[in-house]
């Protein structure tokens, strides 16, 4: 182009002369022109630090450097850290300490850490917190990042060490691989920038699409004029509601209520209206601004309780079932609640209000679609947690045979439920690729992510608990009004979950629940870690403490009094199998020094407890089918030197690939590094429902174990033939096949595997998993909350509250979890630590705020505050308690979601302990605390006068 500017850049020691557009940023030059995609784009606004590089010796956000300003600069990116094939000590330390999960923030973290270490070779923890304050990590790997940086000296001059981290063990074990803290399977690629996320992909002829969204909260589309956009040079195609199928899509089959692009009505600011595809992203962005849309604005409603009122604007008038904006109504009564309350010595009732929180993964959503063979074969790369549901929904909505759709899930930079459904990006990329015959990439920017939303439902809750004098819970009555936003998404399930999980933690004699999920003219809410349960759990744990206070009971004692026990059928017909909630309570109490601290801390210091737990995979799939939920194949290499594991489970940062590889290695009897995870691709791995409802370890783990057992059986059979013994007399362990009764007789595993291939051709093991039949009761909605197994955990949080400003600092967290047998202690602890960090954000900081016109006041990471490294408690102590889940692989169950649930209550209770006041609305901001303190003082003064 005419006004391009020639700049010189020395990147990782290589000199480049590059012509750049004046408005290019260093980030776009690195990624688009030099193809150094290790440097990530998380926000484009200097808020997240994912694009941190070192420029002339200093850490900078590459998105905040105008390319011409970098002329003559020396730049080091993550790709420049490893030298001569040897990883930098920092990279090794990150791997060893598990200082990364989804890996999307990792390149930026590493560069900030490198810049810090270049200036301060042995930084203190405080210096690390200062130096990395500009790098946000939504997985909450901060405690490990701090440790990895402090321990970098141990890795200087060393080769990559892949031995398990030995200090992370919790339990005794007799397994070789399961139960060890082997390094994450994906870590080497994630610390080098080699891991490819969807937005890193480039295909020849690739186009870029963008979506235009509604600027009004509720209205009818009167006219759309796309002519100016079409006329813009570089624009290839434009789509509006008229061009997309009439078939509605969604998540819950009972409520498919979305069109790919709005047909006639828009229901929130951000509703998708039109889309453009162009030669590059800038042109597509310019083009959508040229589309003229005329709306007839309609009255809108933004509050779920107001949406219920007579005369409120009707958001889905086309369907009479939603006449009063009630999207989902749940009415459950188990046992005689009135008798339960009559029997109680104390009944307390309280209103609690939750917050709209956003998953805010650092990786923005991205989709890349390509059609081949004259439109006979579609490939979609998508940053999704649920490749199968995307495949299913594309097939269903677009009328394409499922077999023609290949869905590939590249590395995913965090999801937390926000990438658990098919997005307009997926649909539009596919449609554009079909119409243009070229590959099409579509991404959300940070703002668009907030508007697409699918975050946590805000719940307005009324909770009533009755107890006997000794603390025994006699009855619970719970009503929740959920703000669902404009569409259903997961919301039917959310409304049921809100009520279903209440009776799983404590024994409750009688229980009544009413859930009302309301449509409002706001972005649609969906599934977010702990799906529907964190707010009710916050309310319950808070009210339980208030009751304990009234009874003069210790909060831990009242929990122990009512704690769930193994082998219990709850009042709502959920079968609790393994359960060590009591042990988590007792051990958290003892480890935290609860008895010495509770009631003995000075003003401004507080200690509080909270419990939580979650399903280890939903008992039923989202759409009805008899398919097994998880399926796996293992192919033994011809030379026997290893195996490939084919499974479409979704590693999104939680560490599931690592866990599945461990399970496979253990069952096969070979070392961890001989199992190779094959890319998640629907053509080479069978159906798996994906990463939601904390299902992977248990469900995919069982399928993998079965496949491995199948493959091992074939290898052992070949060995048995050669050795002239029965296969039953043989074992496989740590790369050897041997006679169980006399282990010195045997052969290397690979030799046995070669014999198997030589004799019979391909050695393939297959496995599948389906939950036990008949889970749940026979009432409406009884399937939600069912699961083969449940996790349980207790958190004790210790906080300091500045009584003058209201600022809360979470100082220390003690967590004990019953996650069954632990497959990988390091990744388990990382998940718990991440929950601690996220819990701090959800309880104290996070809230998506809407302006009176329905737009979002804080659709960015500068105003929507997620915790940074500075919010990391100085001590997080996490342990798993001994437990064995008979339905889990090697006794394992979930950790990722359940571990978040105790946090909200624990912090709320600690703040109440520190301040003597309670805030009933999330987030518990410093301002709300100060106001409660002032109100209390005002009340006290008023009483004196």
């Amino acid at each position: 182009m005419a006004n391009e500017i020639l700049i010189e850049l020395n990147v990782n020691g290589v000199k480049h002369a590059i012509a750049v557009r004046p408005e290019a940023t260093l980030l776009s030059v690195l990624r688009e022109q030099l193809h150094l995609t290790g440097t990530k784009k998380g926000c484009g606004l200097g808020e997240c630090g994912a694009c941190t590089v070192i420029m002339n010796g200093r850490a900078v956000n590459a998105c905040m450097v105008l390319a011409p300003e970098a002329d003559g600069a020396e730049v080091t990116t993550v790709e420049g850290l490893a030298r001569g094939g040897e990883l930098h000590p920092l990279q090794q330390s990150f791997i060893k300490h598990g200082a990364l999960q989804c890996g999307y923030c990792t390149p930026g973290m590493l560069m900030s850490a490198k810049a810090l270490l270049d200036r301060v070779p042995s930084p203190s923890e405080e210096q690390i917190r200062q130096g990395l304050g500009g790098n946000l990590c939504r997985c909450g790997s901060y405690p490990r990042v701090i440790r990895a940086i402090q321990d970098v000296g141990s890795f200087v001059g060393r080769k990559l060490d892949t031995a398990p981290h030995t200090q992370e063990r919790d339990q005794e074990r007799d397994t070789m691989v399961v139960g060890t803290s082997v390094p994450r399977y994906d870590a080497p690629d994630k610390v080098t920038g080699r891991a490819v996320y969807t937005a890193d992909m480039r295909l020849p002829g690739m186009l870029h699409g963008k979506i235009l969204t509604s600027r009004v909260a509720h209205g009818l589309i009167k006219r759309i004029d796309t002519s100016k956009a079409r006329a813009l040079e570089g624009v290839l195609d434009v789509l509006t509601g008229a061009d997309v199928p009439d078939t509605r899509y969604g998540v819950s089959p009972a409520r498919y209520d979305e069109h790919i692009l709005a047909k006639e009505r828009v229901r929130y600011v951000g509703d998708e209206v039109a889309a453009v595809v162009a030669v590059d992203e800038e042109t597509a962005e310019r083009a959508i601004r040229l589309i003229e849309v005329e709306y007839e604005e309609l009255p809108a409603v933004f509050d779920p309780e107001e949406a219920l009122a007579d005369g409120a604007p009707v958001i889905h008038p086309e369907n009479p079932r939603y006449a009063n904006n009630v999207n989902t109504r749940v009415q459950w009564a188990f046992g005689d609640v009135e008798a339960g309350f009559a029997e109680a010595d104390l009944v307390r009732e309280q209103r609690f209000v939750g917050n709209r929180t956003f998953q805010a993964p650092i990786e923005p959503h991205a989709s890349l679609a390509r059609w081949e063979h004259h439109g006979e074969k579609l490939t979609l790369w998508s940053s999704t947690q649920v490749p199968h549901y995307v495949q299913h929904m594309l097939a269903r909505t677009l009328g394409i045979a499922q077999g023609k759709i290949r869905v590939i899930r590249p590395a995913v930079g965090g999801g937390f439920g926000g990438k658990a459904e098919t997005t307009p990006l997926d649909f539009c990329a596919v449609l554009f690729a079909q119409r243009t015959g070229r590959p099409v990439m579509m991404t959300y920017d940070r703002r668009e992510m907030f508007y697409h939303f699918r975050g946590r439902h805000k719940q307005v809750m009324n909770l009533k608990i009755g107890v006997k004098k000794d603390g025994t819970i006699t009855a619970v009555k719970f009503r929740s009004v959920l703000d669902g936003g404009a569409y259903t998404s997961f919301g039917v399930i959310t409304a049921y979950y809100a009520g279903a999980m209440i009776p799983t933690l404590y024994k409750i004699g009688s229980y009544e629940f009413e859930g009302l999920r309301m449509y409002t003219n706001l972005p649609a809410c969906g599934a977010f870690r702990g799906h529907g349960v964190p707010h009710p759990r916050f309310a319950f744990e808070s009210l339980l403490d208030m009751i304990a206070d009234d009874l003069g009971m210790d909060p831990i004692d009242i929990r122990l009094k009512n704690a769930m026990t193994p082998g219990t059928r709850t009042v709502n017909a959920l079968d609790i199998s393994s359960c060590e909630l009591r042990a988590t309570l007792e051990r958290a109490r003892d480890e935290s020094g609860w008895r010495e601290k509770r009631g003995h801390l000075p003003p401004g210091k507080g200690i509080g407890v909270g419990c939580g737990g979650f399903v280890s995979g939903a008992g039923y799939p989202i759409y009805r089918s008899d398919f097994p939920h998880s399926n796996a194949m293992i192919r033994v290499y011809e030379d026997g030197q290893g195996v490939s594991l084919h499974i479409a489970a979704a590693e999104i940062g939680q560490g599931s690939d690592t866990v599945l590889v461990q399970i496979a290695a253990e069952e096969l009897g070979i070392p961890y590094d001989r199992v190779h995870m094959v890319e998640c691709d629907s053509t080479i791995a069978p159906l798996d429902l994906g990463s939601y409802s904390s299902r992977v370890t248990l469900m995919a783990g069982n399928a993998v174990r079965m496949a491995a057992s199948d493959a091992r059986g074939k290898v052992l059979a070949a060995a048995a033939r050669a050795m002239g013994c029965s296969p039953q007399s043989l074992s496989a362990r740590d790369g050897r096949v041997f006679v169980t009764a006399s282990p010195s007789f045997g052969m290397p595993w690979e030799e046995a595997a070669r014999l198997a291939f030589s004799a019979q051709g391909p050695v393939v093991g297959v496995g599948h998993y389906r939950p036990p039949g008949g889970l749940g009761g026979d009432f409406k909605g009884s399937t939600v909350g069912t699961s083969p197994a449940y996790s349980f955990s207790t958190v004790v949080a210790e906080v300091s509250v500045d009584l003058e400003t209201g600022l809360v600092t979470v100082d220390r967290v003690t967590d004990f979890s019953d996650a069954g047998t632990v497959i990988n202690p390091m990744t388990l602890h990382a998940q718990v630590e991440g929950s601690v960090i996220m819990g701090i954000g959800e309880t104290l900081m996070e809230d998506v705020v809407h302006l009176p016109d329905g737009s979002i006041a804080n659709p960015n990471l500068h105003d929507y505050l997620i915790p940074g490294i500075g919010e990391t408690p100085s001590s997080i102590f996490t342990r798993a308690v001994e437990s064995y889940e008979p339905r889990g692989p090697f006794g394992a169950k979930e950790i990722g979601e359940g571990s978040l649930l105790p946090m909200l209550g624990a912090i709320a209770n600690a703040v109440a302990d520190a301040t003597g006041v309670r805030v009933y609305e999330l987030p518990i901001t410093s301002e709300r605390i100060l106001k409660a303190l002032k109100d209390k003082r005002g009340g006290a003064e008023a009483r004196r006068t």
Binding site: P22, G44, L45, R58, M64, S112, Q130, T805, G868
Partner: protein, 293 residues
């Protein structure tokens, strides 16, 4: 969200920069560190066709002691300023204020001049410069002028700069025995978070009494502002808790906060009082420790 198409200019001298600024007027913005401007351009909050990059003006990057004052070039990055030996010695309160700002990556790019010229209500460097009694030099083709730091701001995002004018330096006085300064800031996250309220204080003690005190605030008015009455109240007083408390209350009454995402007006006023007490206490403590030094 990408940048709009831009024309990029890179003047080699201050005179050229001023001339370009005047010629391009409202269609251009000066580009220093870019950490505010690029965000505003990407979000289309600022819509211009030209950027005039100042990074060729090496003389504006220097920090030096000259003519009985510290002269901080407007293009010195926040990191440069916070780490400058002159600043650390003579105006340590400014280094303290800077280290509360944003995060390393931003401070490595953002400049002190940019922080002034963006003139956002929550700017963190101006209050401390005001408290120190600092000023700024403004240059243009028609001549230079010096403006007290507190008089630089007019409205949110609006300073006294006219088209063709450039902020060249921030000037601060040299240290004195018996002087102490401190910055007390409240934000909802430790890094990468704008101040909900912040108070800068500088106190000169003389034989146990306050000779002169200045208090300035940010995020609690349309612009960074001086709390002149609060400062004046302290002059000649022995800085007892009661005196400090009264001055802090006065500062709170001088604040003109609004309610926004970060906090309500009422909360901000409460914070000003608390933060003013803290900033004054630290200043006095530091002033006592610096006596005779």
């Amino acid at each position: 969200m990408e940048l709009p198409a831009l024309q990029y200019h890179r003047p080699g001298s201050l005179a050229q920069a001023c001339a370009l600024g005047r010629e391009l007027g409202e269609s251009a913005r000066f580009l220093a560190g870019g950490t505010d401007l690029l965000v505003d351009l990407k979000q289309r909050r600022v819509q211009v066709q030209h950027v005039v990059a100042l990074d060729g003006l090496g003389e504006l990057k220097r920090i030096r002691v000259e003519g009985g004052m510290i002269r901080i070039g407007a293009l010195a990055t926040l990191t440069d300023v916070a780490e400058s030996a002159a600043v650390v010695e003579h105006a340590p309160g400014l280094a303290e204020a800077i280290l509360t700002m944003a995060a390393v990556q931003i401070r490595n790019r953002a400049t002190i001049g940019g922080n002034f010229c963006a003139a956002v209500p929550c700017a963190d460097t101006p209050p401390m410069c005001i408290a120190y009694g600092g000023s700024v030099t403004i240059v243009s083709s028609t001549g230079d002028r010096v403006v007290p730091a507190e008089a630089f701001f007019r409205l949110p995002r609006r300073s006294v700069l006219e088209p063709g004018e450039l902020l060249a330096d921030v000037l601060l006085p040299l240290r004195k025995p018996g002087r102490g300064a401190a910055y007390a800031r409240f934000s909802r996250r430790r890094s990468m978070s704008l101040a909900v309220a912040a108070v800068a204080a500088r106190v000169d003690l003389d034989g146990g009494r306050v000779r002169e005190a200045r208090v300035a605030m940010t995020s609690v008015a349309p612009t960074p502002m001086i709390a002149s009455e609060a400062g004046a109240m302290l002059a000649g007083q022995e800085p007892t808790d009661d005196v400090i408390q009264r001055a802090a209350r006065c500062a709170a009454s001088e604040a003109r906060p609004i309610s926004d995402l970060r906090g309500s007006a009422e909360y901000r006023r409460d914070l000003v009082e608390v933060l003013a007490v803290r900033a004054l206490r630290s200043s006095i403590e530091r002033a006592r420790n610096s006596s005779g030094a």
